[in-house]
């Protein structure tokens, strides 16, 4: 009984310490599997110590090994499958966010570009002025304003530079980009961000993080 309590304590301690250290449930499981394996080995040796013929011992060993291999296989499949599902959820989220970000900037830029190129002589407004006509917010030079907050967790910002160019930036409030230190236009760090530079010649889309 004493060795069972000791083993349970050892397994629990290994599990808890690993989980606290790494924060990963599978790391904790695999770390705790080591003392569990030692316990099962001890249990097997103890159980087959007396009143068991060598033939019975080998048969039992075979059956126990088969069960252990099967359980290990189950663990490996569950680990790879659920880790994959976890990663895919984040990938899908980022793909949705990126699609939303692309469409959000183009949806706002295209009417501006259309209006700019539909001006009739002698009308000759700059891109910034056309933008300000369509989005009557205060467009101060080099000031970034929040244009829109979308349901999918994407915020759209706009900034004018030199009158001829408007930069429309979309930032995700959920998805993380490649560079965790990247400084987003909203002051946060590491989130997905892309921008579209709108000039009289055309639109250039760029993924920034």
């Amino acid at each position: 009984m004493g060795w069972l309590v000791f083993s349970v304590f050892a397994v629990a301690a290994t599990f808890v310490l690993t989980f606290i250290t790494t924060g990963d449930i599978w790391d904790a499981m695999f770390a705790a599997a080591v003392p569990v394996g030692l316990f099962l080995l001890g249990l097997f040796l103890r159980a087959t110590r007396k009143n068991v013929t060598p033939r019975q011992r080998v048969t039992l060993l075979f059956v126990v090994a088969l069960i252990c291999i099967g359980v290990a296989g189950h663990w490996m499949v569950m680990h790879s499958m659920t880790r994959w599902q976890h990663d895919q959820l984040l990938t899908v989220r980022d793909r949705i966010q990126r699609s939303l970000m692309v469409s959000s900037v183009y949806d706002r830029a295209t009417p501006v570009f259309s209006a700019f190129h539909s001006q009739r002589f002698p009308e000759n407004k700059s891109m910034t002025e056309v933008f300000a006509d369509l989005y009557p917010s205060i467009m101060e030079k080099n000031a970034t304003i929040l244009l829109d907050s979308l349901d999918g967790g994407v915020n759209v910002y706009a900034r004018s530079t030199w009158g001829a160019m408007v930069v429309i930036t979309s930032v995700s409030s959920v998805g993380h980009g490649m560079d965790p230190e990247f400084r987003n236009v909203d002051g946060r760090r590491g989130y997905l961000q892309s921008c579209l530079r709108l000039t009289p010649e055309g639109m250039v889309y760029e993924v920034q993080n």
């Binding site: 069972l4 808890v16 569990v36 499958m81 002589f121 959920v174 889309y205």
Partner: protein
């Protein structure tokens, strides 16, 4: 006659194999009921946490997998769930201790105690203790042993999921390409206007400056010498074509070959499995349709 005698003996012997099988079955049902009640009492009916139904098999690996996926779902919606100790983690640890330590220990003790009992040797705890140990130990073993079969079935599902996911990624990449092409087409349309205003078109040359829209106008820089009038282009596994319907309306068609084969869409004329999308473009709108 022999069967009846055996049956009468079995009924009178509370540690007979038949009874032990019944104890194990009853213990499994009872444990299932206890776990189900625990799930409800603990308030794990949260639809965001699919772990509740994974508790029943009492498999630590299933529970850990449930936690992994649940963390993914929470992170999907912007929560930070990684590495937070919760009731689910405690349950996983308990399942591990019960399934791989307490259960086997009880089973071994129960088997040895039963053997001694049948040899008329005094056993501490007597028949109820032996029956309980065998029932609990046997039920945990009965839950552990089928796990490899479950793993086989899961692995098959997992392989199918991986393949389908690669198809959806290919379709997603195609839709992004088509979307950017459609937006490039809009830019070309608006730039085609006359200096005094008006005259925007995708159809005819303007001031001799440009002809009808070509694939190179859509593909963007660095995408190879695709400036052909035929308006068909193949890039890797993706194929694109362009058809100008009217001065202010065009259709883009994109197609991607399924790799590995087996996507749900029907095979094309060349016998390849493909996924395709059609994009209707007007000067201000983009309308994307997945073709089934």
């Amino acid at each position: 006659m022999k069967f009846r005698i055996d049956l009468q003996r079995a009924v009178k012997d509370p540690l007979h194999g038949i009874w032990i099988a019944c104890y194990i079955g009853a213990a499994m049902i009872a444990l299932g009921a206890v776990q189900e009640s625990f799930v409800h009492v603990a308030g794990w009916g949260d639809p965001a946490i699919p772990i509740a139904h994974a508790v029943l098999p009492a498999q630590p690996a299933v529970l850990a997998g449930g936690i992994e996926v649940a963390e993914g779902i929470l992170q999907f919606s912007g929560h930070t769930a990684r590495g937070v100790w919760s009731g689910y983690v405690t349950t996983t640890l308990m399942a591990m201790l019960i399934s791989y330590m307490v259960g086997p220990a009880l089973l071994v003790w129960g088997i040895r105690a039963r053997a001694r009992h049948r040899q008329q040797i005094a056993v501490r705890g007597g028949v109820p203790a032996i029956a309980a140990a065998l029932a609990l130990g046997g039920s945990t073993l009965a839950a552990v042993v089928p796990a490899p079969l479950y793993a086989l079935v899961s692995h098959r599902t997992y392989t199918m999921l991986e393949r389908d996911h690669r198809h959806s990624e290919a379709l997603d990449d195609l839709s992004v390409e088509l979307y950017v092409m459609a937006r490039n087409a809009q830019v070309e349309y608006h730039r085609s206007g006359e200096p005094r205003g008006g005259g925007h078109t995708w159809l005819t040359p303007v001031h001799g400056r440009k002809g009808p829209l070509r694939m190179c106008d859509l593909l963007g820089p660095g995408r190879g010498p695709q400036c052909t009038e035929s308006a068909h282009v193949t890039i890797g596994r993706q194929m694109f074509s362009l058809r100008i319907e009217r001065a202010d309306s065009l259709t883009l068609h994109g197609l991607v070959v399924c790799e590995p084969p087996g996507c749900p869409a029907p095979a094309d004329t060349s016998g390849q499995d493909t996924l395709s999308m059609v994009v209707g473009v007007t000067p201000l709108n983009v309308n994307m349709i997945f073709e089934e």
